[in-house]
Amino acid sequence: MFSTDSGESQYLQFGGEVERKRKLDRGVAVVAAGMSKFGLFKEKDSKDLLVEAFHECMSSVDKGMDPRDIDALYFGNFTNDFFVNQGHWGPIMSDLIGLVPKAATRTEGACASGALAFREGVFAIASGFYDVVLVAGAEEMSKRSTEEVTQGLALASSPYERKADFTFPGVFGATATAYFERYGATREDLMNVTIKSHNNARLNPKAHFGSSIRDIMTSKMDQARKKGEAVPKWENEKDFLGDLLVNPVVAWPMHLYDCSPISDGASCLLLVAEEMARSFTDHPLYVVGLGQGSGRGLHAKDDLTCFEATRFAAKEAYEMSGLKPEDVQICEVHDCFTIAEIVHIEDLGFFPPGEGYRAIKDGTTTLTGTKPINTSGGLKSKGHPVGATGLAQLYEIWKQLRGEAGQRQVPISDLRIGGAHNLGGTGGTCTFTILERR
């Protein structure tokens, strides 16, 4: 049979002893985190949402702090320029939270803009230049029509993909067909991702979608009953997701419930030099692994069933931390589309290539599984205000590792190590960050 790749990637070999490479000259810790509610807010803009995240962040500093001690802001935003016709967001946001005249820098890496802000903040402290840095991200997408948002997001895809009339869901749809062909997965395996992410988001009060697929299904049946209409005969969640009337094709095999929504939201984290961390909190999280990789358009990928940039980022983060994939106890991955979650958990080394969909099917990645993935609900159900996403993933790890995730707290004893994987564009920028509670 025709092969969809041109050989094993050099980046997937995570076995054996990890050789330590790269380090921070000065350690960096996360000592506070905040996140706005994600959703569609006609009455709130990016600034209002950032204030919401900033308030929570400041009040989460266990021992308290004066915001005037913040040395600088790094702010991740993809394309509010396009969405709300305003650029130059660094100083605007900095002024909002009283940091002017201190440095404010915007980072852009499409949907990975937030993770890039985090990395810049870490490097600024590790270099010794700053001691206390706020890293934040926001995106305001709901003020535009779906067609316009699609057009805005497409700015981050490869120019060749755009010329071939690919959309974002289309690129991931093509990835899915290559994956299906090679490993025998089917649409039902994508449905498992959707069902799991909605189940988790149901327990996340800040999530864009707070209902499980079963809840949505039951509610639609109740509505039909009340209106005296014919009640759909869905027997279970997959039956519901298989109904093209409620779950139409977007870019086959991506259907509506395979795609993350258009959302508004903001998130932020407070970073400090490691030696200062205990003066902010007795429970800081330490930045132990950082990785970032770059990738190419679909036509130039060596292997259509993986993301080279993710594999590179993972290798870098494992090498820096000395950790292996099995040491990462929970992870947030960039499930902009359901197929992406399946591929990422393979690229990060959690499961061998072609085994990711089986792990999701057998429950390994649920809240109570041995490797919980996207406990927040992920991009699919928590929402995906693109510039905020990378930091919102780290916010979830912050909550989980400190035992503050409420109803969705994973029941792993001695939970210490969590990861966050952020992807920009169609895989052009990928990051992997590992945090540890000591």
Partner: protein, 144 residues
């Protein structure tokens, strides 16, 4: 032809003449479509143009029901989806292109590995006329 730079602009100009052109590194033989001004395999900069014969196989595809505004204008809607895909050329390079001559409403009939040949789609009129790279099933075989 030999004097054209190995650029996206030149690539598009060739497409307008219904030619699918790539670059070949004279040092290591690596072929790239669209062309690259620098060979990223060996960093050689002695590059030549190479015309693709126009046949290949389907590696991946999607049937798009919600397209960009330009496609909606052309009449591609939820009821009338179109197909885009990744094609591996006989010469080894891969390209992204529209896939024509298949039934995008029945994606289960589109098979990865199916042989394809180039077809240049015309879009727009007069000065707005554009050629879009596409492929269709080879040997005139319609999908079953």
């Amino acid at each position: 032809m030999e004097t054209k730079p190995f650029s996206d602009i030149a690539y598009e100009q060739f497409l307008a003449e219904e030619k699918l052109m790539g670059s070949r590194c004279k040092k290591c033989g690596a072929v790239f479509v669209p062309p690259r001004p620098i060979c990223i395999k060996c960093y050689g900069d002695n590059i030549e143009w190479l015309e693709m014969r126009g046949s290949g196989k389907l590696c991946a595809f999607t049937c798009i029901a919600v397209g960009p505004p330009s496609m909606i204008e052309e009449g591609y809607t939820r009821e009338n989806p179109y197909c885009s895909g990744v094609v591996e050329l006989e010469e080894g390079a891969r390209v992204v292109a529209r896939i024509d001559g298949i039934d995008a409403k029945r994606p289960e009939t589109i098979k990865i590995g199916m042989p394809l040949k180039t077809k240049f789609l015309r879009r727009g009129e007069g000065s707005l006329r554009k050629i879009i790279l596409a492929f269709e099933p080879a040997e005139g075989i319609e999908s079953p």
